[in-house]
């Protein structure tokens, strides 16, 4: 097949067109459409009614929204701190390349590739108030049963726990690969200087993996704002709204109460929060690269 100049000129466009069109249609355009919808009152069936900023006004004066926002932040703080602290400790513990460490690394990673629905169902059964394994073990120590998913003071923590169990292995994996990338001569130099173990950890280990930890913090924050499956499967946002987060609330407002405009306004607020964190991430990333 001989190609003349004309085909070569349009060929690249033909090749990128399907991908670009799909990405624009499902990732770029919906952002604008979402903002547009947030200015309307609409129940998906009747006519759309333009109401300006009323959805936002209602949002910011609603105690439900404030409660949901607090739940979302609570979820995020618990999840990110647990994943990062436990992940770092586990990675340090597993650093030596032995058979048992590799085995633990593999099994801790397994939950990460399994559907969050499956993971949620397993833990729901473990956390069952009457017949769950957890409360049986507690009873052996004479403790009262805990309403893991039915007590409004505990449920959010339980849901976070499941998510931490699922994603810990992935975070360990990334931290381990960062630990492995620290040049050995740094440790050798520290040993020659008779540096204390504490200062080796803070001055070398932690310093060298801090970009990775920072990346993981932001990734986990962004992920925690979109946590949906655990809540949908395990609690439906209950008991008494204690696990109702922003993303779950958007789903409920949209598909249970058919308040499309109001749900869209919530999505815009959540998108702004996530967007700011993403921009912050790239800003800091650029700076780091620049100073290196």
């Amino acid at each position: 097949m001989k190609q003349d100049n004309n085909t070569l000129r349009i060929l690249p466009y033909v090749m990128v067109a399907p991908a670009v069109l799909i990405l624009v249609a499902f990732y770029i355009y919906p952002i604008g459409y979402n903002i547009y919808l947030s200015f309307f009152s609409w129940n998906m069936r009747g006519p759309m009614k333009f109401i300006g900023l009323k959805n936002y006004k209602e949002l910011f004066s609603s105690s439900d929204f404030a409660h949901t926002l607090m739940n979302t932040i609570g979820y995020m703080v618990m999840e990110v701190s647990m994943v990062l602290i436990l992940g770092l400790l586990m990675a340090l513990f597993l650093q030596k390349n032995t058979f048992i460490n590799r085995f633990i690394q593999t099994i801790s990673f397994t939950p990460n590739i399994i559907s969050l629905v499956s993971v949620s169902l397993i833990w729901m059964w473990l956390m069952n108030t009457d017949k769950g394994l957890f409360n049986y073990i507690l009873s052996l120590f004479g403790a009262d049963p805990v309403g893991w998913l039915t007590d409004k003071n505990v449920a959010l923590f339980s849901v976070v726990l499941v998510s931490v169990w699922k994603s810990l292995g992935f975070n360990v994996l990334i931290i381990l690969s960062a630990l492995g990338a620290i040049p050995p001569y740094l440790y050798e130099a520290a040993a020659l200087d008779n540096a204390s173990r504490r200062s080796v950890f803070f001055q070398i280990t932690l310093k060298m993996i801090s970009p990775t930890l920072f990346f993981l913090i932001l990734m986990n924050i962004i992920g925690s704002f979109q946590a949906f499956e655990t809540i949908s499967v395990m609690t439906n946002g209950g008991p008494s709204n204690s696990t109702n987060t922003l993303i779950y609330s958007i789903y409920k407002q949209g598909f249970e109460y058919y308040r499309v405009g109001y749900a869209s306004a919530m999505a815009v607020v959540l998108m702004l929060i996530v967007g700011l964190i993403t921009i912050l991430y790239f800003k800091v990333l650029n700076k780091r690269v620049h100073y290196r």
């Binding site: 690249p12 499902f26 919906p30 629905v117 059964w125 169990w165 994996l173 598909f255 993403t278």
Partner: protein, 273 residues
């Protein structure tokens, strides 16, 4: 140290603890799936079963339309895998190998979509599908996922690493562009392509959110939604729910057993990109 245990012992104890933390939930699912209802509710709970209750799997299979959800899961997973190759490979090749007007703008657009939190814009997309009559179709659960910014980015990197000299030689031989892609580019991109395929397979098979929010009937809903439905109707029969759950997990576990190293590498790569 207050316990005065040798360091090796502490290490061993911690290792055992970690193994229990990550394996016990799976063991409990497996055990429950093979118990009778009496064994499930027995106090104290039994940590072993005498007779495997295979009937639980049959019950799980018939109480929801298991075959229907499985069929949908397979169609959507395969459709996404094939579609992604057809869309991503040419795009990545063009971005890697051709110069054309607006290239950097278009590529910037592709990269920007990697930053869009997809789960936050499900509502406008639902309205779009409703407006064009695409709700409850396979198309709606396949097409949005066949173009991925990350996949295009990864594959472009791979294509750019192919040395120019090889391409020049092929062009001198009067090979067509298509032949170059087929005989030189694709074989060199096999590791990247299989990485992408594994990530897509796992992500699509496990997906719960989009099949839930972009459908209004059971017509094209997938297995994770089916198993969730099993939980809704059979919540008082944990042995049946766990049996259904195992059937959802099994394909992933089989793939994981055979491609463990490759999958772990794929996730590491996507995590540190």
């Amino acid at each position: 140290m207050w316990l005065r245990l040798p360091k090796v012992t502490i290490r061993l104890l911690l290792s055992v603890l970690l193994i229990i933390i990550f394996l016990a939930p799976f063991y409990w699912m497996l055990l429950t799936a093979f118990k009778t209802l009496d064994e499930v509710v027995a106090v104290p709970p039994k940590f072993w079963v005498d007779k495997l209750q295979w009937v639980n799997f049959k019950d799980a299979f018939t109480r929801i339309n298991f075959l229907h959800y499985t069929k949908n899961s397979i169609i959507i997973t395969l459709g996404t895998l094939v579609g992604q190759m057809l869309v991503v490979v040419p795009a990545a090749y063009a971005f890697a190998r051709y110069q054309f007007k607006g290239k950097s703008l278009l590529f910037g657009l592709v990269l920007a979509t990697m930053m869009v939190p997809g789960q936050l814009i499900f509502l406008p997309v639902f309205v779009m599908f409703a407006n064009v009559g695409l709700l409850n179709t396979y198309v709606s659960l396949i097409v949005p996922f066949i173009a991925s910014g990350m996949a295009i980015f990864m594959l472009r990197q791979t294509f750019m690493q192919v040395p120019d000299s090889i391409l020049e030689a092929a062009r001198l031989d009067n090979s067509s562009e298509w032949k170059i892609i087929r005989t030189i580019m694709l074989p060199m991109a096999v590791p990247t392509l299989s990485t992408l395929a594994l990530l897509t397979f796992i992500g699509t098979w496990n997906s719960y959110f989009f099949p839930l929010v972009w459908t209004t009937t059971d017509a094209v809903r997938t297995l994770p939604l089916g198993v969730k439905k099993l939980q809704d109707s059979e919540g008082l029969n944990p042995h049946i729910v766990m049996a259904g759950n195992m059937m959802l997990i099994l394909p992933i576990l089989i793939v994981f057993m055979f491609a463990r190293k490759h999958i772990i590498k794929a996730f590491t790569y996507s995590g540190v990109k």
